[in-house]
Amino acid sequence: MAKVKVEFKVNNREVQVEVDPTERLLDTLRERLNLTGVKEGCAVGECGACTVLFDGEAINSCLIPTVQAEGKEVLTIEGLGTEDELDPLQQSFIDYQAVQCGFCTPGMILSAKALLNKNSSPTREDIKGAIDGNLCRCTGYEQIIQAVQNAADGEVEA
């Protein structure tokens, strides 16, 4: 198909790309913008490894054509925290050993970030609901839930 110019913001930086209208946001982020923190797992919206924030909402970047990102703000794991200071969620995932193989972690953290941006003291159920689109095959989720609770208000249910 004829290529289309798309302008949007990624991690607070204006970007401009020329893409085939069927190109997935996932591929644009990984291949053109080198943001390989975005992972490809299932490619059908079931695993959540490709989760990014799209105008602040968690979405599956494998299910969005890049053309729909026009004028939007995208946040990937690379845009969270700085080299010197991690985002509290990132630090909390380390502190609570919520990372094993790490493949689901960027998506998991971004889903949690979308939650905390709207709800600073989520319940355990709120957290489970927010990460319902993110599969983790290593941790059994418990440490992840605790890490999010800790990042939110420091009160962790054992």
Binding site: M1, A2, T22, P65, G133
Partner: protein
């Protein structure tokens, strides 16, 4: 192979979209959650089309509007908007519950109700409630506007009554009567991300303990969700407390087999559907008893 001459169009107004559709044969793109999967899985997905028309920038069909007699839900309203809408939760709880049962948080953030209905899977979760609430679909083309009962809109799995020059702009739902109840139940393999095995949407109007109106619409039980009119006729006009939920469950299972015949899935679906009906009637009895 994909046609290299395919063009990408983006509309910001419905008028603009229908004009483009009058002159070109275009595949419509809404939230993308089905579109992008089908695009990769089906080689002929765009065969015969002149291009793609993106509807995601048309703000006028992303609204939920309340009028005196009905509520209009824009086709590009996301499942998440429905789950979050106080208006929908108040008037159409079964619809809010069905939207909340779809996919996962990231899917619901993006997938639209118009897309769910136009994709027209037999397991489309919002279809049953829209039929139970006697919703109408509003379709627009360059030649004008027409409406169609949602129950007539889906013809067969993945086939709808929409013409190639039309877009679905909204659903119009009559406001529920005084004393109306509704519920939605779904059975899937797991809570999140599971495709519905079988579901049931119920809307009922109860007056002094008597069932005045009842719509019972199972999903994934028949090729196209439909009201189970035999069971409805059986219980309409009766005292709710005198209805035997188990018997209704069995009759519903018979009605399903009357439509579909005995299929490979019948040994599973027969008891599953009977259970959903039994539960729905029981819940209704409890709810009415509790609310006096």
């Amino acid at each position: 192979m994909m046609n290299k001459d395919l063009k990408f169009y983006k509309a910001t107004k419905v008028d603009e979209a229908v004009k483009l559709l009058a002159d070109n044969k275009l595949k419509l793109l809404a939230g993308g959650t089905d579109f992008m999967v089908d695009l990769r899985n089906e080689e002929d997905f765009l065969n015969g089309y002149d291009g793609i028309l993106d509807l995601s920038h048309i703000d006028e069909i992303k609204k939920i509007i309340e009028n005196d007699e009905h509520v209009e839900i824009g086709a590009m309203v996301t499942h998440r908007d429905i789950v979050d809408s106080d208006l929908i939760k108040e008037y159409y709880p079964a619809l809010a519950q069905s939207a909340g049962a779809i996919g996962s948080t990231p899917i619901r953030n993006r997938a639209t109700i118009g897309g769910n209905i136009c994709n027209a899977a037999a397991c489309a979760d919002t279809l049953g409630p829209l039929i139970a609430f006697e919703g109408r679909a509003v379709l627009k083309s360059a030649n004008g506007t027409r409406t169609m009962d949602v129950s007539e809109f889906v013809k067969w799995p993945y086939e709808t009554g929409i013409n190639e020059d039309e877009i679905l702009v909204s659903f119009i739902l009559p406001k529920p009567e005084e004393g109306a109840y509704s519920s939605f139940q779904k059975i899937g393999r797991r809570q999140a991300l599971a495709i519905t095995r079988i579901s049931l949407a119920v809307k009922a109007v109860i007056e002094s303990g008597v069932i005045k109106e009842i719509n019972l619409v199972p999903g994934s039980a028949t090729p196209v969700p439909t009201t189970f009119s035999k069971v409805e006729a059986e219980i309409k006009g009766k005292q709710l407390s005198e209805i035997d939920p188990k018997e209704i469950g069995e009759k519903a299972a018979e009605e399903m087999i009357g439509i579909t015949g005995e299929r490979w899935s019948t040994p599973y679906k027969k008891p599953a559907l009977a259970t959903l009906f039994r539960r729905a009637i029981k819940n209704l009895q409890e709810e009415v008893a509790n609310n006096g």
